[in-house]
């Protein structure tokens, strides 16, 4: 174990080994993060035939590109607004009020976090597509206008993204509200402020830094997302920056320089916002948020509590009902706009599981990539977190910084970087390059989770191991590892689920035979009857839910065995 040596500084030999170790880590980080990004820069500058300036000018003044940029901004704003208003109000209702059934709503509100937004887009087609959408079918006779709602629009894309990214903001807000000292609110009430006034004047401003930074994260994610805009934008010819990058790569002949240039733009935009967010958070003091353990008494909403209930129920239904409709569609041999028992069939499922090669490959590829990838990612992040937090390795802060960079790289950009960076290596056209890209893309998520976990355990616990004669590695593996196991399982689930539904990076890296689940779904939606896509979407969702439920049990079980921490 080279790591053992890294633990404690000592004589000359150890110094050399520590240098070797940090050199090794830097090399790996540079190859997997810096190099692909530099390759994009290289492609966009050096590879265009007419020279960089001319090419950049022609791309940037292209009307299609301009439209795509505007569309991207519109979609991101709308999605952030919807996700923000839903996330914040639901979190406030659950954490701070006496809304009925808040305990049941809490996990339900997090549900979309574990589902694929592509499946969400698929199921919203059943409800709101212009021709076959149920809403249009039912409401057109009443209103006469046609079509009444159209999911194949900027509004439709923003709406679906908003629904599926609301849990991110919900989670941030909920944590911030729960860690806030309730007496601050109670003081406002004592001063004569009403419930809503207190919420807007005290509660929300105090948790504003956390909430705003989650807004920023959702905005940035939606600006770079590929799956939903591709699925819902194609029928209505709505393009975003990510979909035109994809098109530049898939049209014949492949236009690398344009794709690279647009990727660079997207990356710079995202990175700027992330830098802004970090700056913004740094200047905010969280002094009001104390770690007091007592649960504040919920605010009494009075007659409004059923209104709150209605709002939360509406959110759950907006997620659940389209999915129910999708299930119904998947069980019919042809969809006529209503469920008919006579048309019931499992044929669609049979087709997905036994006939469609792409679908079957998608399942097996994704299962391998996601389970192996999550395992490797958890292991790598654990080691990196230990090196950053538990050693005095020179340059360990820099390791942490470089590892956090991929947060600012949209998936499709990272995918392109990996493609141009590794196209001439044996990695290309294998599932391993996809797995590699996933691990790199979610390194920041995994590492920040792991660092938080490591920091949550008092350092005296492993130091007392050292004092008992254990070496650094023994203290880490015999004391820290068992203590962190439940948290590591949670991180594993999070990464597994994220990998299963990943679209943006995969779409750049898949080839015939290495399709992932989500890629196979998008491909099948393009050329197969809707029933088959529906069945496929249902199966993917069941897989995700099954994984989450199973592993939650595993994590709970091991946490119980280990005793209270």
């Amino acid at each position: 174990m080279t790591v053992t040596v890294a633990a404690t500084p000592g004589g000359g030999g150890q110094k050399v080994q520590r240098r070797i170790l940090s050199g090794l880590i830097y090399t790996l980080l540079i190859i997997s993060i810096i190099y692909p990004m530099l390759m994009i820069l290289y492609e966009s500058i050096a590879e265009s035939s007419e020279g960089f300036i001319t090419h950049a000018h022609s791309v940037l003044t292209d009307a299609d590109v301009g439209l795509a940029i505007v569309n991207t901004l519109k979609i991101s704003c709308l999605a952030t607004a919807i996700a923000g208003s839903l996330g914040v109000s639901l979190a406030w209702l659950v954490a701070r009020t006496d809304m009925p059934f808040a305990r049941i709503f809490d996990p339900l509100n997090m549900l979309p976090f574990y589902l694929s937004s592509v499946v969400g887009a698929l199921s919203w087609q059943v409800i709101a597509s212009p021709k076959i959408g149920l809403l249009n079918k039912w409401l057109e006779p009443l209103f006469g206008a046609s079509p009444l709602v159209n999911i194949y629009s900027i509004t439709g894309i923003g709406f679906v993204l908003g629904l599926f990214y609301a849990p991110y903001i919900y989670l941030f807000t909920l944590e911030s509200l729960r860690s806030m000292d309730a007496s601050l609110e109670e003081a406002a009430r004592m001063a004569g402020s009403s419930i809503l006034n207190t919420a807007f004047k005290v509660t929300l401003p105090l948790s504003a830094p956390a909430i705003l930074s989650s807004f920023m994260l959702v905005f940035v994610t939606c600006a770079g997302i590929f799956g939903v805009p591709q699925v819902l934008g194609t029928p209505g010819h709505i393009t975003t920056v990510s979909t035109i990058i994809y098109r530049a790569m898939n049209d014949y002949p492949t236009d690398y320089p344009t794709a690279a240039l647009l990727s660079l733009l997207l990356f710079i935009f995202t990175a700027m916002l992330i830098v802004l967010q970090v700056k913004f958070l740094k200047n905010k003091s969280f002094a009001t948020i104390t770690g007091k353990g007592y649960r504040p008494r919920p605010l009494k909403l009075g007659k409004w509590r059923w209104f709150g209930f209605g709002v939360n129920l509406l959110y759950v239904l907006l997620i659940g009902l389209p999915f129910a409709a999708l299930c119904a569609v998947s069980l019919q041999d042809a969809w006529t706009g209503s469920f008919e028992w006579g048309r019931s069939t499992l044929e669609n499922y049979r087709a997905v599981l036994f006939i469609e090669d792409a679908a079957r490959r998608g399942f097996s590829n994704s299962l391998i990539i996601s389970s192996l990838g999550a395992t490797i990612a958890v292991g790598v992040c654990f080691l990196l977190a230990l090196i950053v937090q538990k050693t005095r390795l020179p340059g360990r802060r820099m390791i942490s910084f470089i590892s956090s960079l991929p947060v600012a790289i949209p998936g499709i950009v990272l995918g392109l970087g990996f493609l141009v960076g590794f196209i001439s290596t044996p990695l290309y056209a294998t599932i391993w390059i996809i797995m590699f890209a996933y691990i790199v893309h979610y390194l920041p998520t995994g590492l920040s989770n792991m660092e938080a976990l490591v920091l949550s355990v008092s350092r005296e616990l492993d130091e007392s191991g050292r004092m008992s004669g254990a070496s650094w590695w023994q203290a880490m593996s015999k004391i820290l590892l068992p203590l962190l196991a439940p948290g590591m399982i949670s991180t594993w689930i999070l990464l597994f689920v994220t990998f299963i539904r990943e679209v943006s990076a995969s779409v750049m890296l898949y080839t015939l035979g290495t399709e992932t689940l989500s890629i196979a779904l998008i491909r099948i939606m393009e050329y197969k009857p809707y029933g088959i896509s529906a069945a496929f979407g249902v199966l993917q969702t069941l897989l995700l839910m099954g994984a989450v439920v199973l592993l939650r049990f595993a994590a709970n079980g091991s946490a119980d065995r280990k005793g209270r921490l």
């Binding site: 404690t8 005095r392 004092m467 008992s468 203590l483």
Partner: protein, 372 residues
């Protein structure tokens, strides 16, 4: 190295230990020795660097410079860039939070150091049973460690630190998380255990009672430096500085200048234009005109309504009663002596009214002359 040879009876030797976090120096050239089998206490206010000193000895913190020996072994030398890993120093440590591993039983916690050493199974079992018995947890071997009370956790931590017979045991405020009664109880147990097993200990605390009752030697620390070193009685009776005097409970401290110095250690200190205290000094003889301070414990001041003290050698001052606070076993009077404020403890039953003019008196030997 030559100065070390005659001191091989030392279990720990710290020379010019300095530790800086970034640009902040939190320990500044600290040196001390701990003799084998003795208990030395680092006493000082919060933030003075006690824990950091202890962690440097343990090897959990890398000192900026200095030399540390444990027994005959060099464990740290700043100049030679030598540092021995903590696990190789054969030092036991009881942490302030006890650091009991919640995922193991009591027995597994205590056995851990022996598991690491890979002792024969039977020896491990016997040693664990023996040490648990001596800390009074004989029946707790199979208890999950997460279900222990504070006092029990403290005992487990102690057992774990002692079970592998380290050459030194380090204690970082081990009693500070316990309630007052349990603290007294555990202090006694600790004392007994040390008498029985005879380990060398370095003990960190900010509680003077603990320091005085537990140790053979007390090191008073202030702002990363050693202020005074000595046996408990000496530290308590003859503080040398204002800091140590105040930290060890002298509530009346007056700055002044030496107006006369006599050969027998008596110094007269002028603390206000017309107020002089004469007191005893210990240590180097001060020069006339030197900046000094007078420290007087509040329970050494005698009060009387008339100037009728039996001892003619007392220094006496007219005083006016300003405040009166009841503390159960005594009453604390706040007095005005000229422009000075004085605190005096008085037995319950003697009563003076606020505003009453009385007399305060104290003997020469109770006025301690300390460095300003």
């Amino acid at each position: 190295m030559s100065e070390r040879q005659q001191t091989s009876a030392n279990a720990v030797e710290v020379r010019n230990l300095t530790k800086a976090f970034g640009s902040v120096t939190v320990i500044n050239s600290v040196s001390f020795n701990v003799k084998k089998g003795k208990t030395v206490t680092l006493l000082g206010p919060s933030g003075c660097g006690k824990t950091t000193t202890l962690r440097c000895i343990a090897g959990l913190e890398e000192p900026t410079s200095g030399v540390i020996h444990i027994g005959d072994r060099l464990v740290f030398d700043g100049q030679a860039q030598f540092e021995l890993e903590p696990e190789k120093r054969n030092v036991g440590m009881v942490f302030q939070s006890y650091a009991i591993w919640p995922h193991m039983t009591v027995g597994e916690n205590v056995r851990f150091p022996l598991d690491i050493k890979k002792l024969p199974q039977k020896e491990r079992r016997d040693k664990v049973a023996e040490i648990l018995k001596s800390v009074g947890l004989g029946d707790y071997v199979n208890r999950p460690a997460s279900q222990l009370s504070g006092g029990q956790q403290q005992r487990v931590a102690l057992a774990r630190a002692l079970v592998f017979e380290p050459s030194v045991v380090l204690f970082d405020e081990p009693l500070s998380n316990l309630d007052a009664n349990l603290r007294d109880h555990m202090r006694h147990e600790l004392q007994e255990l040390q008498e029985r097993i005879g380990f060398t200990a370095i003990y960190v605390t900010h509680d003077q009672r603990e320091a005085l009752s537990l140790s053979d030697e007390v090191i008073v620390m202030n702002g990363g430096r050693i202020d005074q070193v000595g046996p408990p009685e000496e530290i308590f009776s003859y503080p040398r500085s204002v800091f140590t005097a105040r930290f060890l409970g002298c509530s009346n401290i007056f700055m002044g200048t030496a107006s006369s110095v006599s050969g027998n250690g008596v110094v007269s200190v002028c603390v206000a234009p017309d107020t002089h205290f004469s007191g005893k000094h210990h240590g180097d003889q001060p020069a006339t005109g030197a900046e000094l301070a007078i420290a007087i414990r509040s329970n050494k001041i005698r009060l009387s309504a008339q100037d009728d003290f039996s001892d003619p050698n007392l220094q006496r001052f007219p005083a006016v009663v300003e405040s009166r606070v009841f503390f159960g076993t005594y009453i604390e009077y706040g007095l005005c002596v000229g422009s000075l404020k004085l605190k005096a403890d008085c037995e319950v039953g003697v009563h003076y009214d606020l505003g009453q003019s009385i007399f305060a008196a104290m003997s020469q030997s109770d006025c301690l002359v300390v460095k300003a």
